[in-house]
Symmetry: C2
Subunit: 350 residues, 2 copies
Amino acid sequence: MSYFRANIERMTGYKPGEQPPAGAKVIKLNTNENPYPPSPEAVRALREVLPESLRRYPDPFAGQACRAIGRVFGFPQEWIIAGNGSDEILSMVFRACAEPGRPVVYPFPTYVLYRTLAEIQDAPVVEVPFDDDYNLPLEKLIAARGAITLVASPNSPSGNTFPAAFLDELASQTQGIVVIDEAYADFARENALDLVRKRENVLVLRTLSKGYSLAGLRFGFGIARPGIIEALMKVKDSYNIDAAVIAVAAAAIEDQAHKNGNAEKVIRSRAVLAEDLSRLGFRVWPSQSNFILVRPPAGDAERLYLGLKSEGILVRWFDQESLRDKLRISVGTDEQNNILVRNLSRLLKA
Amino acid sequence: MSYFRANIERMTGYKPGEQPPAGAKVIKLNTNENPYPPSPEAVRALREVLPESLRRYPDPFAGQACRAIGRVFGFPQEWIIAGNGSDEILSMVFRACAEPGRPVVYPFPTYVLYRTLAEIQDAPVVEVPFDDDYNLPLEKLIAARGAITLVASPNSPSGNTFPAAFLDELASQTQGIVVIDEAYADFARENALDLVRKRENVLVLRTLSKGYSLAGLRFGFGIARPGIIEALMKVKDSYNIDAAVIAVAAAAIEDQAHKNGNAEKVIRSRAVLAEDLSRLGFRVWPSQSNFILVRPPAGDAERLYLGLKSEGILVRWFDQESLRDKLRISVGTDEQNNILVRNLSRLLKA
């Protein structure tokens, strides 16, 4: 007998993007962190954490943070669940809903973790390919009859959102849970929060890792009907969020002005970067996120990725069907983006 | 079709001990927190976390903390995995090893979470009853042929450890993984770390929640052969530990003197409390932990639990077979213990 389940033996595990050691001299445009610092209120909340709240177990329901979410987004607390990053909420959804015979469905390419989580549950996976413009393959998603259907909106690596009417149609025609993963919604014109009110099978996920500049802190949240939240609570680790994170997350969420200000800067820089890369001959997909997907003129994305890396500039290249000729580039500060563009311009001529 | 797997629909979920709101005037002896504050070095590490390390994703392998563990306990880093509390490592073990047809085995009563995690995986559970003195039912544990066999040592709620020779025998006669859950080992005379070196199927779990006074921070670790650690990494959330916790955990683990000093105080108070309760006629089981299991003279544990609660003193009463006549009491400061004893003395006469 192996120590491990057969599906675990088979799988390889999710490989996160490169994380250079702290202090390394790199321009890091590979894992979609926000280039601007988190809210000073959030940093202050961290400074003010008392030793006494480290000594005792934290609130298992992260009440202080969930109340802040409720106030800002207009939902009662029993519609909200907090996770150690939205990754943990995804993991809860899979543990609650996916198993052999209960399919996991999503358009592809998207966040690679969805496949990993399905493999852990030994659940069948239906990956419905996007077309070249990343339109939502609505009919095929519905036809696949997922126990979990996931749509990242904005999607990664394509950066686009999907029309609310399409997501509504998907939810109304799907019997299982529909997860709208809005990790990047803080940079988008539209989101699906209204769908949570309208459709009882919709779960919307948010994170503090991108818009709120708190990737290092691990806090995400889900919003859905109480029946869904209660089931996720059953599979949640009891004390999944630590006391410091609860306090910092609450402060960050209350400070919407700071988050929105940073998002506006990123959106302006995104437009400039897209324009600059178009001028170099890249195909640039329209983005509602804090990154852009681009195709270099000759499709030699791996070469450019490695060339940039040797200059200390990290972007994301996926060794994956339909993506090998593209790069996903996080929007940095204007200064970082300019260095990137200069280096790409040089590499194109090399 | 239900949204959820049938086993999730059936289960009720783990209910953690009561956590009164911060600032509530209670004497909290119900969830085995350490009564003394964490290391000043750990608190300093929290104060020194930089906004930049909040902005960026943390190290997915919590390297700084795992290197500290390696130095202190004498293991290479590839033998170590960090979790968001040792609860999260338990969850990883179950996700990697448990499913229908792969039994989960443990002596009972013990940490109730083991059953919950088995239910989440829909794995069969074999609970082997302890005798009245909580001796390890070695033969029956072996005979149950667990894919996962768990032994909490010290066990909760009984407080006792098990002889290393018995655990060695268990590991050598068991084909699956043997988890020695040492959450309370910092208060015990013996531990099973040597077994990890000797037996390839042993995983030892530790936590900062008890000995290190950091229940609010969520950090636990597992030590096992690299083959086991690698499989657990496959099912681990990518960024499971936040940047602040990594820094604080490393500082706390380096400060063994602080932790050991607190443990000595707890051990001295444990002896006094056990003596005081014996004098009141309680049966007191010998404890190697920071709590004691006691049986009131008349077995009316629920009445005493409620009587204490109405005075703002929380202890743990389990509404469970073989435990309904007992209380589990965390060892507090001498002052807290004295208030407890005075109240119990009064309640016994009521």
